[in-house]
Symmetry: C2
Subunit: 272 residues, 2 copies
């Protein structure tokens, strides 16, 4: 029995509708900031943060608290709210801040709602690309307003031409030295792309990539992904879970068309 069946259908629809309102608001704020300009600084780990990351997370938190005062919230820029609540919103206001700073259009906003750990609603919004990928439990995955149904990859098409989106080598070495995994993946799947943002998650959900790997990231970097993939008919597998001092848990996941996901998962499970 799927725990999400405890939630009333009309509640799921309302959560979904509010999530879409949230990312419409964040999109407007981000587009305005791209015109007016914004402040950029480096965090102690040298990653970028801007005044827009902070403002958008504040905006999303306020909207969620207004509509769902009993729900918890986990985000990249502020401490968790109501960590014991059964419903938890997880967000990354700007995933790909370095790209946002350099005006590369592939950054995006991720927002997801979980019920006792199971994903209920997910949205990835790309303001510059006018691309919103969204899903809710039982309601399917949408690319803007178009319903997406992934068709599995044929075994014969996994001949090196399969399209795999992967993280940069940086992701495989920042928390543990797993550079050998990067090397193994790039050798086995030479037709890869590296965008370093949640655009790779959106691409897997809509079938523009056959599969995507993400690696070495905290929970908010996967906030929307699992439900987007599963509601489109794809497969999502967590291949790593590591505890990192000060940051907490980081994850590695593989997702997209089922046959290719299974093949990629095997690479991660192979002996070193």
């Amino acid at each position: 029995m799927d725990i999400r069946n405890e939630i009333r259908a009309q509640d799921i629809e309302q959560f979904y509708s509010r999530a879409l309102e949230c990312t419409s608001a964040s999109r407007a704020a981000i587009q305005a900031a791209l015109v007016s300009g914004f402040e950029v600084r480096r965090k102690p780990d040298k990653s970028f943060v801007t005044s827009v990351d902070l403002r958008v997370e504040e905006q999303l938190r306020a909207l969620i608290q207004q509509h769902f005062p009993d729900h918890g919230i986990i985000g990249e820029e502020y401490p968790p709210t109501k960590p014991q609540a059964p419903f938890q919103w997880i967000m990354d206001p700007i995933d790909g801040t370095e790209d946002f700073v350099h005006r590369l259009p592939t950054f995006g906003t991720m927002l997801g709602l979980y019920y006792r750990g199971a994903p209920v609603v997910g949205v990835i919004d790309h303001p510059v690309l006018d691309l919103r990928v969204s899903a809710a439990f039982g309601l399917g995955t949408y690319k803007n307003t178009e319903r997406i149904r992934l068709v599995d990859i044929e075994p014969a098409a996994m001949d090196g031409s399969e399209r795999v989106m992967i993280p940069a080598r940086a992701n495989f070495i920042k928390h543990a030295d797993e550079g050998r995994l990067f090397d193994a993946v790039t050798r086995a799947h030479p037709n890869h792309r590296i965008y370093r943002t949640c655009f790779t998650h959106a691409c897997a959900a809509i079938g523009a990539a056959d599969a995507t790997i993400d690696y070495g990231n905290p929970v908010w970097d996967f906030a929307a992904t699992r439900i987007l993939i599963e509601e489109a008919g794809g497969k999502f597998v967590t291949v790593r879970e590591m505890d990192v001092p000060k940051l907490g848990k980081v994850y590695g996941s593989v997702f997209g068309k089922p046959r290719l996901v299974e093949k990629l998962v095997a690479l991660f499970n192979a002996p070193a």
Copy 2:
């Protein structure tokens, strides 16, 4: 003495202006095709070609022949025209056809004019991104209408956080087995991105990347690049030139902020 000083300034301005007209026309044709749909097939080498690649190259060839009947033309989809002419237009109507087919927005049109082998005019146009990067000899490089002047990277900033755009491993193995170079580059520069289109060239020209490597590609895949980089104050180095049966010459190049380009070139010149 630079051979391009033989060309009258008013001619350079006219060539530049016509090149911009050409890419405005190709942009309109590509945008229309994205709405109306198009045919896709695979070439014998399994790469994609669409009815739009063919139509846009025909359109660009017709415009150039109309304005400059004495000039030669080299393009990806049709045989060369007037190969002995001193002025040669080089084009790739859609660079990143695989991405175009999957509606990834990073494909683009490349167009360049050469005089006795020296680049005079270059344009990279990204229809979906509304991004046009253009340059002409002596006139500077422009991101849409904004003049670009690259600032060199500081030696201390080459600490692993430098932003390098690179080709996929596929490019290093399709004509010769140089996978070791892919491994060397990704290890030395962990903060890399792989887009597999001329968007990486545009990013180097406007400073959104600190440097870009492209590798294993014919001349039309670099049609516009050298002049875009040099007029912005960057450095362009050809690190490989190989003869490939049936395809002809393919090249490897490194370009962008001078200090980082020098460092990358050293990787290519290191003993195997």
